[in-house]
Symmetry: D2
Subunit: 123 residues, 4 copies
């Protein structure tokens, strides 16, 4: 029987397993300290950002076909390292995102922040 973790987290669980296998085959687990994986998330996030560096807004029409593919692959890299880090720290990513959304609902009440992008701590 599937654990509750797997029931809640189907697609990411399958990805997690494939990433584990990919890592094991290359004997790369030795490099995957949580700190190194957090570094990797950050580096891949910057490579994603690089795609938008000189654009106005980065909507698909401005991105173009080729750059959209690059964006998709950079987003994949961020997600893969995020899943790998979650695996090493035994964190359920999807459950954490739901939890954080709840916290954000309390932190940024819709009626107070509507249309305003200032950060919570500026209120």
């Amino acid at each position: 029987m599937a654990t509750s973790k797997e029931q809640n987290n189907g697609d990411l669980t399958r990805l997690r397993d494939a990433i584990r296998e990919f890592t094991r085959e290359r004997d790369w687990d030795q490099f995957h300290t949580p700190k190194n994986l957090a570094i990797s998330v950050s580096i891949e996030a910057a490579e994603l950002l690089e795609q938008f560096q000189w654009l106005q807004t980065g909507v698909t029409s401005e991105l173009g076909e080729r750059r959209l593919t690059d964006v998709r692959h950079e987003m994949a890299d961020v997600l893969v390292y995020l899943i790998r880090l979650a695996d090493k720290l035994d964190i359920n990513l999807v459950a954490s995102a739901w939890e954080k959304l709840e916290l954000n609902r309390a932190k940024y009440p819709a009626d107070k922040v509507k249309g305003d992008s200032r950060k919570y701590d500026e209120y």
Copy 2:
């Protein structure tokens, strides 16, 4: 009937919808250009990294309970912005991750890179 996208991407689809609702209630869609969302992914990734800044490896015993919770929330922030960006660009995150894993399998053949962390372009 569910679309193939939703069948492949159940948990993230539900999160995507909740994030859409969260954004709509606050009238924040106007700020969510793809470029601003890519910036946000990068900022949240750095906040995640900050948790590991002065640690040796960041394993759970070194992180401690309180910092592990912070890590979980920062990872959630990265995922939430990643999902939001994918939504704005009509990208299927999970499918992209599978595709990128395939590309990485070809780029880093297990028998060539075993136990070696050098980047592909150094070979």
Copy 3:
């Protein structure tokens, strides 16, 4: 007669002028909004970090000759965009660094934080 700004900031002033000229010759000033330059600082910082991604500590003996040159060039890229951003916002970088050092002296009193890397807000 040199302005006080130039007297305090000789080397960076000369670099600033050369970067201005470099930008003007390429008609790139139109892309150099402060926001785009802050993005660029962040991207270059991540390229710098990438050089250390899988290393233990990154001391020169571990870096090696070739990678040390890459590190030097990535650091230069960060500095160049930082100088360019300071130019666009009319900020004196060197004076700001002295000011921040003073603030940090007050925030982290030597006798309280000695040998301890925890952030100020954890005290």
Copy 4:
């Protein structure tokens, strides 16, 4: 007599010495591996970027007085860690920036790239 390094690098040399002293007084040198300092540059760069996250262009009139001060301090933080990293790796930051500017002149010939922000590798 001053060394050629100090002659070329007056302001940053004085800052470097003050940062050394600041670090020594707090016994923080033990945390300042090149890898940790590169991480710190990246984190501070993201905090700088955060100031511009939801702005249009970040020109001074859009930034406002208070945020401009924050920007100045975040830029200082990036510079301070950059100087500290250069110190640990015995790199002359100013000389490296001049060298990189020369390389960029060759990589992006003014007559070829005028008014065009595409990266070199797209040509």
